[in-house]
């Protein structure tokens, strides 16, 4: 082999190394202080969750992201948060009316999307959880989801040198605590803000709605916005929408939290951002598509002590229904769905093998 060949090989090697350095951890997945700045979108209210009690740092966010995508949180390392919260579905679980957790066991409720969580004053379909930081304890400890204990998660993280190092970088201490675990996860999920759908652009006069979308918006305002209110599309109330109680699931909804018979079958009004891609719908995922949902409100049989405001939504025309769906499609936020910050950090490593 002559010197020229060696020279070319070295040059090629340098080129590949250079390419790798742009696309690896140092590139696509790098989080800078600018990436973790919380910007309150124009027109949104003041967030309920205050990051003053949990200062977001690139280290804390990256740690939260790693934890979110890591099945180490489950008892047998089979289920991660992302198993049921898929990024391309605005972190809901497409096509799963009810998700399956550890050992293929089923829960009893539809996975909600994860977005704009810092504006929520309660979590879960029944609103039983009062603070975003303590929400992740539920899937971690639920016997049909991850079936772990917080104590054992901490034990596993502490003996993992990579995590021990990342917790130290994020929180400055050698001893990992559940408080740090939960605060890191909150930094990651709390920054999931959807504010750049076509509808948002329409509100900012950067885009226009088609005739059908605009008409759908008008019908929506008079028939749906009573509960799906404001730019977050929820008034954070609990409502009985007249669904037939499922005799197998036996879900009493909000009543399980308040103990009030009046709250039987009441569930939290969900926000509607990215609604077109978070199917199926309702607390138990019984409706496959938006058309079924609107047909339920507009003419479906209503059961139990349902919310009387539904009565005024009966008898929408087929055009009204189609246009509402056209409008709801404008709530899909491609910027949020493709935000590289929320990408699974393991994907590059996996695909390069």
């Amino acid at each position: 082999m002559n010197y020229r060949a060696i020279y070319i090989i070295l040059l090629l090697f340098a080129f590949v190394t250079l390419l790798y350095s742009f696309t690896s951890e140092n590139g696509y997945f790098t989080i800078t202080p600018k990436d973790v700045e919380l910007k309150i979108p124009k027109g949104f209210p003041k967030p309920v969750y205050d990051f003053k009690q949990n200062k977001i740092t690139p280290q804390g966010f990256v740690l939260g992201r790693k934890l979110f995508y890591d099945p180490i949180l489950s008892k047998d390392s089979s289920i991660s948060c992302a198993s049921c919260h898929q990024r391309f579905a605005a972190f809901a679980h497409i096509d799963h009316p009810i998700s399956h957790g550890i050992n293929g066991l089923f829960g009893k409720r539809n996975v909600p999307a994860l977005q704009n969580l810092i504006w929520d004053n309660s979590f879960m379909w029944d609103g039983g959880v009062n603070n975003l930081e303590v929400q992740p304890i539920n899937p971690i400890t639920n016997p049909v989801e991850m079936n772990e204990t917080l104590g054992h998660v901490i034990y596993k993280l502490q003996r993992n040198t990579e995590y021990a190092d990342m917790f130290k970088q994020a929180f400055g201490t050698d001893k990992i605590t559940s408080q740090q675990l939960l605060k890191a996860l909150t930094q990651f999920i709390g920054l999931m803000v959807s504010d750049n759908s076509r509808f948002d652009k329409y509100l900012r006069h950067e885009d226009t709605l088609s005739q059908a979308e605009f008409h759908g918006f008008q019908v929506f305002k008079s028939h749906c916005a009573n509960c799906h209110a404001g730019q977050l599309f929820t008034d954070n109330s609990y409502r009985n929408t007249g669904l037939k109680p499922d005799t197998a699931l036996k879900d009493s909804g909000r009543a399980a939290i308040t103990g009030l018979t009046d709250d039987y079958m009441k569930f939290k009004v969900p926000g509607l951002r990215n609604v077109a891609i978070t199917y199926p719908y309702m607390h138990d995922g019984r409706f496959r598509n938006l058309k079924q949902v609107i047909n339920h409100y507009s003419g479906g049989k209503l059961y139990g002590n349902y919310d009387q405001s539904i009565n005024k939504d009966r008898g929408l025309s087929e055009t009204d229904k189609a246009d509402i769906i056209a409008f709801l499609n404008t709530l899909t936020d491609e910027t949020f769905l493709h935000d590289r910050r929320f990408q699974d950090p393991n994907i590059y490593a996996v695909s390069s093998k």
């Binding site: 009690q53 603070n131 304890i137 917080l150 104590g151 559940s178 399980a256 103990g259």
Partner: protein
């Protein structure tokens, strides 16, 4: 300045410094020592059998509770309030039965009050650490809130699987607010730091009181309270659980 002058000056400074240090030493160390009893017998986990007011025999396998918001009342109005002090007293952990408060102002105190449980703010503030770490197993995830008191045991009277007894009492809001403030007179209890005295107050917690006054608990009818159902009934009983041990 000559050598004597320097020595004099140093002596004066030393005296002044000592005097100042005495003057600033107006706070003492205060220990609350908890002892768990069943009636007049000391609580022994697992091996001892006791009887409730209805004569039903039972054993105890777990007994723990939160103490917070400790407040010492002084007749002069100079009360001592322990903010951010949250303690989990666990029969299984000897150290946990001793609450040590440093820097309690010297005074004669006439009563002590504390919350059996955790105040509502700390039930709502998100992920906590220390005694309030949810990993301690005293936390409900699905309906956020701390379990204030856990009693577990067995009784042949219980119809639960394995004759178990389980009383997990907690909750800070409707439908079950189990926060109870306990107030006990302590007959001019003095805290003095000047002579480096450690003041110890011995408190007795009586397990039997969980199951009597105002409501007698019949284990054949109520063998477990593990959510808001009947929780306030037990909370109204446990407010009578503590007494000052002479």
């Amino acid at each position: 300045m000559n050598c004597k002058g320097v020595i004099k000056l140093v002596c004066i400074m030393a005296v002044v410094a000592t005097a100042m240090s005495f003057k600033s030493n107006t706070k003492g160390k205060f220990i609350i020592q908890f002892s768990n009893y069943v009636g007049n017998e000391k609580l022994v986990l697992d091996s001892s059998t006791y009887k409730n007011a209805l004569g039903q025999p039972f054993t105890v396998s777990m007994f723990k509770y939160y103490i917070s918001n400790i407040h010492l009342k002084n007749s002069n109005g100079n009360d001592y309030v322990c903010n951010n002090g949250y303690f989990l007293v666990d029969e299984e952990d000897t150290n946990s039965k001793q609450i040590v408060l440093n820097d309690v102002p010297n005074a004669n105190y006439s009563s002590i009050s504390f919350i059996l449980g955790v105040d509502s703010i700390h039930n709502c503030n998100g992920a906590q650490a220390g005694a309030l770490d949810p990993a301690n197993g005293m936390f409900w995830a699905w309906n956020t809130g701390y379990i204030f008191l856990k009693f577990e045991g067995n009784s042949p009277a219980s119809h639960s699987n394995g004759n178990t007894l389980a009383f997990h009492i907690g909750g800070y809001k409707q439908p079950a607010n189990c926060i109870r403030t306990v107030t006990l007179g302590i007959k001019s209890f003095a805290i003095k730091a000047t002579d480096n005295q450690i003041s110890t107050l011995n408190l007795k917690a009586d397990v039997l009181e969980l199951f009597k006054t105002p409501v007698n608990i019949d284990f054949s009818k109520t063998s477990s309270v593990i959510d808001f159902h009947n929780a306030e009934m037990i909370a109204d009983n446990y407010i009578n659980m503590f007494s000052v041990k002479q």
